[in-house]
């Protein structure tokens, strides 16, 4: 573990998220507890209570108010943070569009969890994937180290003048949020140097220079603002890559090209495409049993690195996506996004791990088999399900 550096602590994913927020020195935090995100709120409260983090904490009465309060604080010109999961994220839905529409560089951690009904506190991606059209950058993590590193990077990405969009850092509930892993804690000074002081670019509520934020935009201008958001999201691709490289230079760690991580893809006959902690299981299967398989881990779901993925999956024996959510009455979202960029490639679709159902090595092998058999191309194959 020496390559991790001197300050290595064994911490869970929620602590890694809170620690990143402390290192970045966020000014205002508003958050509401929800399983499996709750410990983030507790850790941050503890940091502030003990004087380890100098931030204002707003004990809001709902997630709707959590995101609303950080929108207000961000527009006033400070660095903000919030965190949620599942129902809480769904409750925020309305304001997510507004945060990106106002182009506020908010960073939010989401400990991925299934949505009701039936009520279920365990992991899948139905909460965050359902928010894919809100114009938030979405970055998915595979390890606790990556959670910490990605939150630090997220501030650089969100605040970049070419981007100015909010960022959601997603990590699997319980699998990461409550699981202990060794994590290298970077030096506080170096993190602050990396992130820099927050300087509002396009707006700030200040009586010295009065601005109107959040006006009515009619048919004569609404579409222009939406296209500008699209363009910012497109520019974010480059910025995410740039920040990933700079982070690597500063701290010695990187995650693929920042958008996509490839594992054993070079000579692989089969490719698995997935997001989040299940990728660790896929890597394990590749290492132990299937050297002929490669993994494409989608780190950035928005902006979606479709062209890059299309390139990687050309000329293979088989390709399969593992979705931890579904778009009922259609094909699953990850499959659909991949196919949109690679219409000529045969891609199999599987659904696994909903509501915390374990995705075991044998389930990954089954998904690979779906690709081998050329199934799941017009209807998803549900893995490890009893109906």
């Amino acid at each position: 573990m020496t390559e991790l550096g001197p300050d290595v602590r064994v911490i869970n994913g929620n602590y890694a998220a809170a620690e990143a927020v402390r290192l970045v020195d966020v000014d205002v935090i508003a958050a509401y507890p929800i399983t499996p995100q709750t410990p983030i709120v507790e850790y941050l409260s503890e940091f502030i209570a003990n004087g380890e983090l100098d931030a204002e904490f707003i004990h809001v009465e709902s997630e709707h108010s959590a995101i609303s309060a950080v929108v207000g604080a961000s527009a006033t010109g400070v660095r903000v943070f919030t965190a949620t999961a599942s129902q809480g994220l769904a409750l925020m839905h309305e304001v997510l569009f507004i945060a990106s529409g106002l182009r506020l560089p908010i960073v939010m951690a989401v400990a991925n969890r299934a949505l009701s009904a039936p009520i279920n506190i365990w992991c899948d991606h139905s909460d965050t994937v359902a928010q894919r059209d809100t114009c938030w950058i979405q970055l998915y993590c595979e390890s606790n180290q990556e959670i910490l590193d990605t939150i630090i990077q997220a501030y650089r990405i969100a605040e970049h003048e070419d981007v100015l969009l909010p960022v959601m850092v997603c990590f699997d509930g319980f699998t990461l949020s409550h699981t202990l892993e060794p994590v290298a804690i970077p030096d506080e000074e170096r993190v602050r140097e990396f992130v820099g002081e927050f300087e509002p670019v396009h707006c700030r509520l200040d009586p010295e220079e009065p601005m109107t934020i959040g006006p009515v935009g009619g048919p004569d201008c609404y579409m222009e603002f939406k296209k500008m958001q699209h363009e910012a999201m497109e520019r974010a691709r480059e910025v995410i890559g740039e920040v990933n490289r700079e982070f690597s230079d500063a701290f010695g760690r990187s995650y693929g090209d920042g958008l996509v991580e490839e594992y054993n893809t070079e000579d692989a006959d089969y490719i698995v495409i997935a997001m989040g902690s299940v990728c660790g299981t896929v890597k394990h299967v590749i290492d132990e049993e299937r050297p002929d398989v490669g993994l494409v881990r989608v780190k950035a779901y928005r902006p979606f690195p479709g062209d890059r993925i299309a390139e990687i999956i050309q000329d293979r024996e088989g390709v399969v996506t593992i979705d931890r959510t579904h778009s009922y009455g259609a094909m699953p979202p990850l499959w659909t996004d991949v196919k949109a960029h690679a219409p000529d490639v045969e891609v199999s679709s599987t659904i696994a791990g909903l509501g915390g159902r374990d995705v075991r090595p044998e389930d990954v092998l089954r998904a690979i088999k779906v690709a081998e058999e050329g199934k799941g191309t017009d209807e998803p194959v549900w893995i490890n399900v009893n109906v």
């Binding site: 529409g101 100015l164 959040g214």
Partner: protein
């Protein structure tokens, strides 16, 4: 409209810019102040929802560029110094 500038996040950096919108066009009746009658009580100034009644050296000036002709000023005047006159009848 073709010259509209699209700012990042639709932020408006020109305070008070609704002044470009001359709401005086809405007006059907025009409030006409008889300065001789005016006692300077400022009720017309206080109650104008559009801030169109401005204090002047003598009495008040009504800003017809924006006055929507609601008639509140005439109604609240304790000495009937403001008369509402049909725009078409104005010379």
């Amino acid at each position: 409209m073709s010259e509209m500038e699209y700012t990042i996040g639709a932020v408006i950096k020109e305070p008070g810019s609704t002044r470009r919108n001359k709401t005086g066009r809405w007006r059907v009746f025009r409030p006409v102040l008889d300065e001789d009658k005016c006692v300077g009580c400022a009720r017309c100034f206080m109650f104008c929802p559009d801030g169109c009644v401005r204090p002047a050296e003598d009495a008040f000036k009504i800003d017809y560029e924006y006055c929507k002709g609601c008639g509140i000023c005439a109604k609240v005047c304790p000495v009937d110094a403001i008369e509402m006159v049909l725009e078409e009848e104005m010379e």
